[in-house]
Symmetry: C2
């Protein structure tokens, strides 16, 4: 068991490494050459140009002004100084609300920490139970924990009371946060400029009609059933194949530019490439000619495909974006049922154009129901049985296994260096690869489930990831063993016994979780600000691909808040804080430091770096709230389990009231606030409509909405930059996928390596 | 343990008693004097007058035509002959769908019974395990059950397969039934005449406004937010006090009539009464004068109260019935959110005027949330701990207790007859009284929960009653012991062990449940048709109160289907059938007989007797469906428990798929059909609106809707009969309560006495 000294050493190491990251960041970000990596948001906003300092050439790449290095931490106050309304304007409500999660962590845990240290630690310290026991399983950390109080002692009433105080305070903070964010969202929606999605409803599962095309059918249906409000509609084309061609073209274009650059630098030598397998195999050809020809071929193919999609009636999927004359009309259509068969003519608010996930617009109702079932079962198996295939791969990948199966490698493996490398590295690598791929896997599952917007996909992936972390990181660390063993225990033990088992092991795991918080929370977050992966990729692109200023613009990868993986990880800290608040209060300061540090760093990142892919106006908050409540209820139940071993009379009856009240509080909050995140009230719609009618009586809404909800590959070339960005974002099959994979890999790598 | 012979004897007795009830019914219903008890529905419809046969005076009371007695069962084919569409017209969709529950029972269990008897019984019979065992705990019924198969035997695969077949068949039947009933409902709603609730929305939680009255506020809000659709509104007065006065007046009127009748029959002797405590205590006065004076006083009081309610602005509660120009407008308002604060301006479809529960229209949102929590907790305690106060009362009520506590009764109690009476009777009476009062108690709880329509109240009471039956009758019979002990077991045993314990005891309880089905199902249902309580009350009223034809009309108590108590009891039969279908197939024929018999009897009753209090167009079906699925899942889980003791390899894994698929099926059905019961589609609303505009272009909707949603006590005297009926039904505090209590007491008495 780790002693207090061990913890201190570990804290020092982690603080140092965090400090190291910060210093590295401070130095790197001052170099003009890295400016686009550390301040891309300002470039995208057009508020910052490429560095054009006077002075020597080298000044364009390296910062020689030594004074700036001294104030290397001055980004911190700068990050905190931007007021929230400005932040919302600058980075969107999603980001502004996201960092409020960290702030909420501070709001909840600072008072709890104070109270716990002042009240509980003295009570525990003077318990003196562990003095007599010369047991190595207790460290001096445990002196400060509930383990130091004698079973049956009256001191436990302090813990019971504090547990209620902490729960009450958490609920109070949660209630106020929900209220604030709901009103922020309503204010944001009310103050917003005109946006196409305010007038538009996504209609899915349009039934086939033998006499009419889908477009005519939609037109007739809405003309009849919304006669005074219907304005226009846009059908959805199945352009997945076309999108693939466009993406392939773009990648070939990159290669062409690469070889052209190479040729320009060395004009005497025409670059050559090979035709097969990423230029590695096949016959040698002149690279520039080859790619030019290939591109021509693809352009033609693209043109054909484009023609085909537009003219072929079968390329229209049974979904459409229907727009209305007023926000009121759209609000009505989105919230009501159109047909008495609830599986056809399904309407919901259209996502923002950037947020639409085009592939999922045409899934029939029954198929959707089956997909949900299959994915639910798969997620269950993934969470509880993921160790089985990994253990299998690990058993295959040991030295003897490889020698047996792949005989010709035997002489190589037998060499000592390689052998030790394989033995040290292979057993972990399967697990590591799995953890790196997990977010992508979960996102793919969410895609199969059939959600129609990227924001919904991220929310659902976050939900899955949260349960994975809950079962495999939290429960898995407390009762050592795989999730499958836990499941077995859960079925074969009584529920009382199960919570007792976990409750009893909680105090013993405090030191482990303190270390975890320092490694994953402190150092991990500090690494986030360094942006190693985007830094390297930017410089690679800059070297090989960039010719013009516009290319450089495209080489920037600002990234974005990865809600699907980072939010569940915050939830783990909330859970740890709530679970240990009564049990081992010394863990709490570590949590508080994490929240404060992360708040600062992410505030800096969303101001200077991240470029949001879409704006959902904080639609994720009900999920965050729900998971926090789940964490609170888990903490309360585990406390019941722990107390049932402490010989405190009536403690179960006193404690069982807590989760009931908490669940009721959840239902109450849901009824009170959730609709602000799901529905637009008719009153608000009417106010905005009336206002708009008064200020812009001659607005041509039809022209405004024309071609907004068109698959990005169909957008014409006029608006050059937005098109490219839309292309990247809305078509996840190709470039985005690579991008987002890379992001999530990077972050999960950071997480996994410390797990 | 009961043997086959015991069961046969019991069956014979119950069949005989059922037969006895039927014969009694056949004789009684042929007497003209009982005509209004057995055919009230036809009187209410105006299709049948008082018997005016030619012949002797006695012929008006007793049927002397002996030929009619011979065909004493001819009501049975008559009850079955009315086709369903006619039945829906005649008795409403609620009743027509209600008896389809019995039909569904037949549809599910007839094929299952056939298959089980043909396949499973031979397999069990030839198992021969019990031959060797000379154990008294097994009866020869068990020879035919799964207990007769050797553990580990391959014969169990037949049971596993049959379990899947049965589950599949049940789901198939449920799916088709849901589909049929959804389309019946849609057809009914579409073909219906114009009804006020089609145009009206109930608006609750109207926020207070300092400058406007509630009525003005509603008017302004809807004029602004539904400008093209808003027509008019009616505010709700808090007339609870007035309603009490009116009810009291009515009861005094009855007494006055009683004494006047008495005086008429015996003109020499003016009747006297006492002024206090129901005419039993206090000073003697002339009854007719006394009641006339009292009535005058009350009339004046009523007038004052009426004046006060109408003129006092505080008597207007923050709720209103808002009517729209079209069904489309009402459909929109009912389905959308009006304000961005989801706790104010809540809208829902207005219930039918008869169905409104006026007391609950003005409960604020937070109070509602608190009430739901309190009632949920109370229901939990009621279900699991109701035995505690009863045991306490029982312990108080034994001979020694009474002698100790009430000393002066000692000499009386010591007498032998009384002593044995108390000893034999008292211990059971507390439980019996509780069971009789239970439906009323549950209804009161539902009222406290704040539902706004009588139909919703009945649905929610049924839900509570179902869980009570499930825990206390079903589980309580299987694992002998109180619900509290079960709860204790459930917490302290593992979930696997718990299902195992129950699963193992299931086959042993088959004979008990067979007896239960015969007593409660066969004889109980046969008693229903006799209508003993209404028969007696009608004759009492007829003797003492009836003077005119109209009085006689009012003395009829047709009663109605008591959904809140009878539906949960049907569910118990479904549950028993599903649980025993694989385990002890010989139970199934008893269930089938119950469903067939009950179907016939209730079809007769809804054709000839019951008068529905409201029409909800089968809004209860989703509840019925959900509870059936709950029963099915319970059966599947208990089968898993049973099989886990039978040494069948992989049986748990094979069986665990069943409940998952069933729950998925439930979610699927919910998505597919439930909205037909909750929402009106805009398409349907538009069709009906258009049709009406074409056929009745000059309809004055405002005049049509005027005063429809007015508290019944305000309705003026023009429409004499409907007013009285509305009064009885919509104000449950007074006469209805007594009626419905009486009904439910009667039925629960019938149920309880056989439990």
């Amino acid at each position: 068991m780790a002693t207090l000294q061990d913890i201190c050493v570990s804290a020092a190491i982690n603080l140092l490494s965090a400090f190291g990251f910060l210093v590295a960041f401070a130095i790197l970000r001052l170099q003009p050459i890295n400016d686009r990596v550390y301040f891309p948001k300002w470039y995208l906003k057009g508020l910052r140009g490429s560095p054009t300092r006077s002075g020597a050439m080298v000044g364009n790449f390296v910062n020689l002004d030594w004074k700036t290095y001294i104030k290397f931490l001055n980004w911190m106050p700068a990050a905190l100084s931007m007021p929230e309304p400005e932040l919302t304007d600058h980075a969107g409500l999603d980001s502004a609300v996201y960092i409020r999660i960290y702030l909420l962590g501070l709001k909840i845990f600072v008072p709890i920490t104070f109270l716990a240290l002042v009240v509980l630690v003295p009570v525990n310290w003077s318990g003196n139970t562990l003095d007599g026991i010369k047991d190595l399983t207790f460290s001096n950390i445990d002196r400060l924990s509930i383990s130091n109080v004698q079973p049956g002692s009256n001191r436990f009433w302090v813990h019971l009371a504090m547990s209620y105080v902490f729960s009450f305070w958490t609920c109070y903070a949660l209630y106020h946060e929900y209220k604030t964010i709901a009103s922020m969202r309503l204010r944001y929606l009310a103050s917003e400029k005109r946006r196409p999605d305010q007038f538009t409803v996504l209609v899915m599962n349009i039934p086939p009609d033998p006499d009419e095309s889908i477009s005519e059918h939609v037109e007739h249906f809405f003309c009849v059933n919304h006669p005074d409000h219907y304005l226009m509609h846009q059908v959805v084309y199945n352009a997945n194949k076309l999108a693939k061609v466009v993406a392939k073209k773009k990648s070939l274009q990159n290669w062409l530019v690469y070889y052209q650059n190479k040729h320009e630098r060395n004009p005497t030598n025409r670059p050559i490439t090979k035709t097969g397998f990423y230029g590695l195999l096949g016959k040698e050809v002149d690279a520039i000619d080859y790619y030019t020809a290939e591109l021509e071929k693809l352009s033609q193919q693209e043109e054909e495909e484009r023609e085909k999609v537009i003219s072929d009636p079968n390329a229209v999927v049974p979904a459409a974006f229907v727009s209305f004359k007023t926000r009121w009309g759209a609000a009505i259509c989105a919230q009501t049922q159109q047909s008495n068969n609830p599986t056809i003519w399904l309407t919901e608010w259209a996502p923002e154009p950037r947020d639409v996930f085009w592939d999922n617009l045409s899934i029939p109702y029954v198929s959707l129901a089956v997909r949900r079932l299959l994915i639910a079962v798969s997620v269950f198996f993934l969470i509880f049985f993921f160790m089985i295939p990994i253990a299998f791969v690990q058993s295959m990948a040991n030295i003897e296994g490889i020698e047996k199966n792949v005989r010709f490698l035997k002489p190589i493996i037998e060499k000592k260096v390689i052998k030790s490398f394989i033995q040290g590295f292979l057993p972990g690598i399967a697990l590591k690869i799995f953890l790196i791929l997990l977010p992508t896997l979960l996102m793919t599952m969410s895609k199969i489930e059939g959600f129609t917007s990227i924001s919904a996909l991220e929310r659902k992936s976050a939900q899955k990831y949260y349960f994975f972390i809950l079962v495999n990181v939290f429960l898995g660390s407390i009762i050592a063993g795989t999730a499958f063993q836990q499941l077995h225990k859960f079925i074969h033990e009584s529920s009382g016994q199960f919570t007792k088992t976990i409750g009893v092991s909680i105090p013993m795991k405090a030191t482990f979780f303190i270390t975890y918080i320092m490694v994953d929370g402190w150092a991990g977050i500090a690494a986030e600000i360094l942006r190693m992966v985007p830094l390297i990729i930017f410089h690679l692109k800059n070297t090989f691909l960039v010719k013009t200023e516009q290319d450089r613009e495209q080489a920037m990868d600002p990234g974005s808040l990865d809600f699907a993986t980072s939010e569940p990880r915050i939830q783990l800290y909330f859970l740890l804080g709530l679970v240990y608040s009564v049990v081992t209060p010394v863990l709490l300061p570590f949590i508080v430091v994490f929240f404060a540090f992360a708040y600062m760093i992410f505030r800096h990142q969303i101001i200077n770096v991240y470029d949001q892919k879409y704006e959902s106006a904080a639609a994720f908050w009900p999920d965050v709230h729900r998971r926090l409540i789940i964490g609170l209820v888990i903490a309360q139940i585990l406390l019941m389990g722990l107390f049932s071993t402490k010989d405190v009379k009536k403690s179960s009856i006193i404690l069982v009231v807590q989760p009931i009240l908490t669940i009721w509080f959840f239902i109450f909050c849901k009824g009170r606030f959730e609709s602000a995140f799901k529905k637009l009230s008719l009153q608000d719609a009417m106010v905005k409509d009336t206002l708009e009618r008064a200020t812009e009586p001659n607005l041509d809404l039809r022209a405004y909405l024309k071609d907004v909800y068109v698959h990005p590959v169909f957008k014409d070339g006029q608006m050059e930059r937005p098109v490219v960005i839309d292309e990247e974002e809305s078509n996840p099959l190709v470039p985005t996928k690579r991008n987002s994979n890379r992001d999530s890999e990077a972050s999960s790598e950071a997480g996994a390596s410390k797990t």
